[in-house]
């Protein structure tokens, strides 16, 4: 079974530029997550989708970050304009859609390492 795919793996941009990341979850996984992982810290959730709907985007800086999952499969995360503090690894994860109260395993992709100069 193929894992979560992400691209690009690395990206270097200058501040105030725009950047987009792509994620293809595991086939059949209804739930997709985007995380930001700053060096030396644990992943922090940015946004969660269930199919093509947003479940939780409370920690997404909406003035500069946006994400979409139009067809309920692939997803893109965009930053416009980027700031120096956006330098981090952006992780995508997916999981099956289980009823609330069940436990479910998240499968993570390799991440995209963003450096903002």
């Amino acid at each position: 079974e193929a894992g979560v795919a992400q691209s690009p793996r690395y990206k270097i941009i200058e501040k105030r530029q725009s950047v987009a990341f792509w994620c293809n979850p595991i086939s059949g996984h209804a739930t997709l997550y985007w995380y930001q992982q700053i060096l030396g810290q644990g992943p922090k959730l940015l946004i969660q989708f269930q199919n093509n709907g947003v479940v939780d985007d409370s920690q997404l800086p909406k003035d500069r970050f946006s994400a979409e999952r139009l067809k309920g499969v692939d997803s893109t995360l965009k930053i416009q304009p980027a700031k120096l503090e956006d330098s981090a690894v952006y992780l995508c994860a997916s999981s099956l859609d289980l009823p609330q109260g069940s436990t479910d395993t998240q499968y993570f992709g390799p991440g995209t390492r963003l450096t903002v100069l």
């Binding site: 030396g40 644990g42 992943p43 994860a93 109260g101 436990t103 993570f108 390799p110 991440g111």
Partner: protein
């Protein structure tokens, strides 16, 4: 070797030793806990989980211990191997609440051959 989690983020052990990685969680309502392993350049990988109605759960070479009284979680790795070198995160969540686990800072495990 043993770490104290957030206060000692690096644990160095010799190959073959047993490793203990500690984690203090914050939410007394959390009832589900997960350990992840993150190797360099990769995303976190699920290792083992435990529900709050258990004190101990064993996997292959790994054991998770949960002490709800002091909100403490530990991951024990038996006969540590160089391939175990990674950053280990504990995550907590409330099963009936938000689905999203909250990750701790992580502990770096370095295994010397």
């Amino acid at each position: 070797g043993e770490s104290v989690g957030l206060h000692l983020p690096t644990l160095s052990v010799q190959e073959g030793d047993n490793s203990i990685i500690n984690c203090a969680y914050s939410n007394s309502a959390s009832d589900y806990f997960i350990w992840y392993k993150q190797e360099s350049g990769k995303g976190p990988q699920f290792i083992i989980d435990i529900r709050s109605n258990m004190d101990k759960r064993q996997g292959q070479r790994v054991t998770v211990l949960l002490n709800k009284t002091v909100k403490h979680l530990s991951l024990q790795i038996a006969a540590t191997q160089p391939g175990d070198s990674a950053v280990y995160f504990c995550a907590e969540k409330v099963v009936g609440g938000s689905y999203i686990p909250t990750f701790g800072r992580g502990t770096s495990l370095i295994v010397h051959p």
